[in-house]
């Protein structure tokens, strides 16, 4: 907007028939008292000031830019030291990263996570339903389970399961308080390292996930259950179709936290000399003495698994947010695609 000659016929925002003042000069926020407000004096009718011809100037955020620059500098410094400090021994990392024993360990880690995670959450779901039931017995059994398995350290639980043979030599199925036995096994043959690991991880996971699922179910509006009950929808359908999908929205973020925790938590089974990723790496560096590079091998694999899980989390959460927001925001992929298509268009226009 240029300054100021008497152009009031072409500038509707200065139409003020009785204005004794000259038309307002161009907007200049620094000049005190000359803000673009319509002259309010005079006795004639007040006409609203028209801002339709004004361009919008975006607010500036200089500190945001300063902060960004600082963080970028810090990230660059860290990357630089990671890449240039020879003591990280990236060549050793690369050498062992896809070694057969490491990959086998990785497979075991994934297997433990998948099995303990799945069984843990299934058991956790059952425990959560028990805890929310109206039977005092079920409630207290569920509560006690969570209490015990959240109290005892996982390390102790694993060692206890593995050494079950010391406490109970034989495991048998029969009629209690009689001598009738249908079958009987040595505990030590029944509880392998794998079985002990799965038992320990699953039960521990179930105790935590039951609380997560219970929290999610409690977060669902009571009116939803009431409406479903008023419509005569059967109990099982009510839980699975009405309550659980809505509970999932609050369950998922914490549940993925748990699963990602479990991926790394499986490393604790090294106490059973179970050859998952972490134990394998330990065995290797005890032999080669390349401690840090091999720990890096394990770490980078954990990062890879977590990244993949995070992508799953994003899409699963998106699935369950159907109907919860008016329109779903675009996925990162869609955003990238949109960016390139609009970018292509503008560059075409430029040409």
């Amino acid at each position: 907007m240029s300054a100021a000659a008497p152009r009031s016929e072409t500038r509707p925002e200065t139409i003020a028939p009785d204005a004794a003042l000259p038309p307002a000069p161009a907007p200049d926020p620094d000049a005190a008292g000359s803000a673009d407000t319509p002259p309010s004096g005079g006795a004639g009718p007040r006409t609203a000031h028209d801002y339709s011809g004004y361009p919008v100037v975006a607010a500036r955020h200089p500190w945001r830019w300063a902060g960004t620059a600082l963080v970028a500098l810090f990230v660059a410094a860290v990357l630089w030291s990671l890449l240039t400090n020879p003591r990280w021994e990236w060549d050793v990392v690369a050498q062992w990263f896809t070694a057969e024993s490491v990959l086998r360990g990785l497979g075991e880690t994934l297997k433990l996570t998948a099995i303990a995670g799945t069984l843990g959450f299934i058991l956790g779901f059952i425990l959560a339903l028990m805890r929310l039931s109206s039977s005092p017995l079920l409630v207290s059994v569920s509560w006690t389970f969570s209490w015990i398995f959240r109290s005892a350290p996982l390390l102790v639980q694993l060692l206890l399961w593995y050494n079950l043979g010391y406490l109970y030599e034989k495991v048998s199925l029969g009629i209690p308080f009689t001598d009738v036995r249908f079958f009987e096994v040595q505990t030590t043959t029944l509880i392998s390292q794998f079985a002990a690991a799965i038992l320990g991880l699953t039960l521990n996971q179930a105790a935590y996930s039951s609380e997560i699922i219970r929290g999610g179910i409690l977060a669902v509006d009571q009116g939803q259950l009431e409406a479903a009950a008023a419509l005569g929808i059967p109990a099982w359908r009510r839980s699975t179709r009405i309550v659980l999908p809505q509970a999932m929205r609050s369950i998922l973020p914490t549940a993925f936290n748990e699963i990602i925790g479990l991926v790394k938590g499986t490393s604790i089974v090294y106490v059973l000399a179970y050859s998952e990723l972490f134990y394998t790496v330990q065995v290797i560096y005890n032999r080669t003495q390349q401690v840090l590079p091999l720990l890096l091998v394990a770490t980078v694999w954990y990062v890879v698994i977590t990244s993949v899980l995070s992508v799953f989390q994003y899409y699963i959460e998106r699935h369950y947010s159907k109907g919860a927001v008016r329109t779903l925001p675009p996925t990162p992929l869609q955003r990238v695609r949109r960016f390139f298509s609009t970018h292509a268009k503008t560059s075409e226009v430029a040409r």
Partner: protein, 273 residues
């Protein structure tokens, strides 16, 4: 033993939607919310329940489909006890499955709609006919589309509740209640959560239902609606029915002091504006 049920069963077709409430009591903790309420609603009748908040209107409504258990007294629909079975001089509590079956005859519309937010409009309507009444999916869907058209939302079939206005949501909720072909529809303050400009569209749908011969029991604060649509107006206060009668009588010449006081508070300010 269950002889009182017999005549009602014989005349089932003629008495579709007869509600008999007799001497119902209900307490929440120390507070007695219903103190001996008796009311008979004839088949096809439209009854509007008025009263100050806390008078027990909503609770009474919720006892009719057994969302609230009564402490004393009983309720029957078409001669069939709600929530109990009379046998050998005793009332046996029904199992959950049987209660759910009874509820499919009684539609309910809530103040806050309570639509399932993760299901589309049509999915909301189909759920109960398919899973509570075991109707074939295709038939239920066809009926759902008919109902959506009837409430004027045939263009919102696959839309999620949050993408609808309050009035539209409540109309979907009404369609959902009607999908079970109920004998009775209960309305619990169906327009209280709506912007004033959206109240009319919901009341229009209810008004058209009133003409269809379904028994309607409506708790509302819409006095104009009560006057125009109700066959009978019931005024409740402090857990009891104070007065009941034709709308003209209740609004024109209330007999009871409490009714007069309530109506003068609710109606006059609105007209003095």
């Amino acid at each position: 033993m269950n002889s009182p049920a017999l005549p009602a069963v014989a005349a089932a077709a003629a008495t579709r939607g007869l509600v008999e409430i007799s001497n119902v009591h209900k307490s929440f903790g120390q507070v007695e919310v219903l103190r001996g309420v008796s009311l008979t609603v004839e088949p096809g009748e439209v009854v509007v329940i008025l009263g100050p908040s806390g008078s027990g209107k909503s609770t009474l409504l919720r006892t009719i489909n057994h969302l609230e258990k009564v402490d004393a007294g009983h309720i029957s629909v078409d001669g069939e006890l709600v929530g109990y079975r009379a046998r050998g001089g005793k009332l046996h509590e029904l199992r959950e499955k049987e209660i759910l079956a009874q509820r499919t005859h009684i539609g309910m519309v809530f103040q806050n709609f309570n639509l399932f937010p993760h299901l589309t409009a049509v999915e909301n309507i189909i759920e109960a006919p398919v899973y509570a009444q075991h109707r074939p999916y295709a038939q239920a869907r066809e009926r759902a589309l008919e109902l959506l058209e009837r409430v004027g939302l045939s263009d919102k079939v696959d839309v999620y509740p949050r993408q609808l206005s309050g009035g539209q949501q409540q109309r979907v909720a009404i369609a959902r209640a009607l999908a079970l072909d109920p004998k009775i529809v209960l309305f619990d303050e169906p327009t209280s959560a709506l912007d004033p400009e959206l109240v009319g569209e919901v009341l229009d749908v209810i008004r058209s239902l009133a003409d269809s011969g379904t028994t309607l029991i409506v708790v509302t604060h819409e006095m104009g609606f009560a006057r125009d649509v109700a066959d009978r107006v019931v005024f409740m206060d402090q857990g009891q029915i104070v007065e009941e009668g034709a709308p003209l009588q209740i609004f024109g010449a209330p007999r009871h002091e409490r009714t007069k006081a309530f109506l003068s508070k609710v109606i006059e300010p609105a007209f003095n504006l």
